[in-house]
């Protein structure tokens, strides 16, 4: 991810000059998980989908170069800000089945939303596990681990299912040279997306407020009672 983003003059988008589009970290993990499942099984194919304008083709191409079999771009003039609109387009495309598993990244790094996966599952009526940090898939069922605050749960579910992928499960492979060459010949289909009306609008972007810290309350162990008092009475964190 970029170290710095510049807000465009319209105040509600990012200045894209010099930015490079790449697959999101979590989406990369999801592609990798899919590839590892088919490689381990010795059969099956990984098909990648993306909803958005032409720039998403770069992301799809990256997934193809990692090893996905084919790609589908569901075209929209801009990436919708409404997760339900994206999920609607995906569900319309995927309603006829033909898959055992639909994988998503847990979160999109730009929008920082993780709703599309579970929403798509609901629209398709499929069982769903979000934020899986481990995943084991057999012919007809799956087992996933999901991290909770200070705990974890092990979940079992039948296929077909939707799983969104958390970090820690795997790293995404870097595409091989052969993979990149092969990706140029793999099919990338573009068709119009059947999105629902977007009811979410990004009205403005701002830099987070600068922290106004810089208060040194004392030196050495003698400062500890004052620190604890402030944590209790002022910061209310103890």
């Amino acid at each position: 991810m970029e170290a710095r983003f510049k807000i465009a003059p319209d105040g509600a988008s990012v200045d894209e000059a010099g930015l490079k589009y790449d697959i999101g970290d979590f989406d990369g993990y999801a592609v990798e998980v899919g590839l590892q499942i088919t490689e381990k099984a010795g059969q099956g194919e990984v098909v990648v989908y993306s909803v958005g304008p032409a720039v998403v083709q770069e992301t799809l191409r990256k997934a193809l170069s990692m090893g996905a079999t084919r790609a589908v771009q569901l075209e929209t003039p801009a990436v919708p800000t409404d997760s339900l609109a994206i999920a609607t387009a995906l569900a319309a495309e995927l309603e006829d089945g033909g898959y055992d598993l639909i994988l998503f990244g847990k979160l999109a790094l730009d929008s920082q939303n993780g709703a599309v996966g579970p929403m798509t599952a609901e629209l398709l009526g499929l069982p769903c596990v979000t934020a899986a940090s481990q995943l084991d898939i057999t012919a007809s069922s799956g087992t996933a681990r999901r991290e909770l605050e200070g705990a974890a749960e092990i979940l079992e579910f039948p296929l077909p299912a939707v799983v969104t992928i958390d970090e820690g499960i795997t790293r995404a492979r870097l595409p091989s040279l052969k993979g990149i060459m092969g990706a140029k010949k793999k099919p990338l289909e573009t068709k119009p997306a059947q999105v629902s009306d977007s009811r979410v609008t990004l009205t403005s972007l701002a830099l987070p407020p600068e922290r106004t810290g810089g208060r040194i309350i004392g030196e050495g162990a003698e400062a500890v009672p004052e620190l604890v008092r402030l944590l209790q009475t002022e910061a209310k964190v103890l």
């Binding site: 983003f5 339900l84 709703a115 609901e122 009811r199 208060r215 620190l227 910061a235």
Partner: protein, 328 residues
């Protein structure tokens, strides 16, 4: 007259702190609307006893469903039950917590009732016929303001974004049935695991105690561990310099190339405060820095700085925190 629905998160039959945060935020919205705050409380038998706490934090009505499967998240039945309640009332906003459970639940409920959803919001308010939320974007490097049209809208509230406040109400408790049988869920909880260290995950912990190169040797992380234990709910993090040296595992690294965290309280011990590290933790609500170098950049962003030897200060702080918690 429009109302607000808020989901009160429980685990193992206990209310979680985020439930009270959701009530507090929901109460403020209900007041702005001139409406009521309705709470959803799902849990194993006996959970109804927690309704009073929700009332004390602003709920006018508490819908309670008891089923032993609700000791875990039982997300399918929770989503169906919440969606039925959302669909049955006149709600402007349905509020969840942006916890592991709430982030799982909110989009499912939204999809069931065909409502727009935004995850992980830090503020939620009403502006005319829109619900306006702020939400961190671009790896927390920007703050987006989003406007949601229609009713209801679904949002999940970032943990620690509001401080729970008590507003006693004359609360009605209504028993409801789960919308689907929780025992018949397709996704089944096979096992619940407590974290193997007993400490929460860095991404979710309300308190993080983090150590840097200033600790000088890997064995000195025992001090950091002890302080984390004293807080009871703290995770232990580290800087890249420390994980590079192999003093701590790479997955404990907080920073641009490691975890991005945003706890209620971040205690930086022996950390100078390179931007690489700050990029991973500067959205923490309260930052405490302990460092022997008064010029260390970490002090520029710390709410409370203590200059001095971590080997003296941290044990003293550990004892003081234990004492403070024992007195509560």
């Amino acid at each position: 007259m429009a109302n607000v629905l808020a989901f009160a998160e429980t685990r193992g039959g206990e209310l979680r702190k985020v439930a009270l945060e959701a009530m507090t935020a929901g109460r403020a919205l209900a007041d702005a609307l001139g409406g009521e705050l309705h709470a959803i409380l799902l849990g194993p038998s006996g959970i109804e006893s927690k309704a009073a706490t929700l009332g004390a934090h602003g709920a006018d009505v508490v819908y309670v469903a008891e089923h032993d499967a609700f000791a875990t998240s039982a997300v399918e039945a929770s989503a169906a039950t919440a969606a039925r309640l959302v669909g049955a009332g006149d709600y402007r906003v349905a509020l969840f917590s942006a916890s592991a459970q709430g982030k799982d639940l909110a989009p499912r409920v939204a999809a069931k009732v065909k409502a727009p959803v935004v995850d992980d919001v830090t503020q939620v308010q009403l502006q005319g016929d829109k619900v306006v939320v702020t939400h961190p974007m671009y790896a927390n490097k920007l703050i987006g303001t989003l406007s949601l049209a229609g009713a209801p809208v679904v949002v999940s509230l970032r943990p620690n974004a509001v401080i729970p406040a008590q507003t006693a109400r004359d609360t009605r408790v209504e028993r409801v049935q789960p919308a689907v049988d929780p025992a018949a869920a397709r996704v089944k909880v096979k096992e619940m695991i407590r974290g193997n260290t007993g400490k929460p995950d860095l991404g979710e912990a309300p308190v993080i105690v983090s150590g840097g190169r200033g600790l000088k040797a890997p064995e000195n992380f025992a001090l950091v561990e002890a302080l984390a234990d004293a807080f009871g709910n703290a995770a232990v993090g580290a800087t890249r310099a420390v994980t590079d040296e192999g003093w701590r595992p790479h997955q404990d690294q907080i920073g641009q190339t490691g975890r991005l965290v945003s706890p209620d309280l971040y205690v930086a011990v022996g950390i100078s405060g390179a931007i690489q590290h700050l990029a991973g933790m500067k959205t923490s609500r309260v930052i405490v820095a302990i460092n022997k170098d008064r010029e260390a950049p970490i002090f520029k962003i710390a709410d409370y700085g203590v200059v001095g030897d971590a080997f003296e200060i941290v044990p003293a702080l550990t004892e003081a925190v234990k004492k403070a918690r024992a007195e509560q």
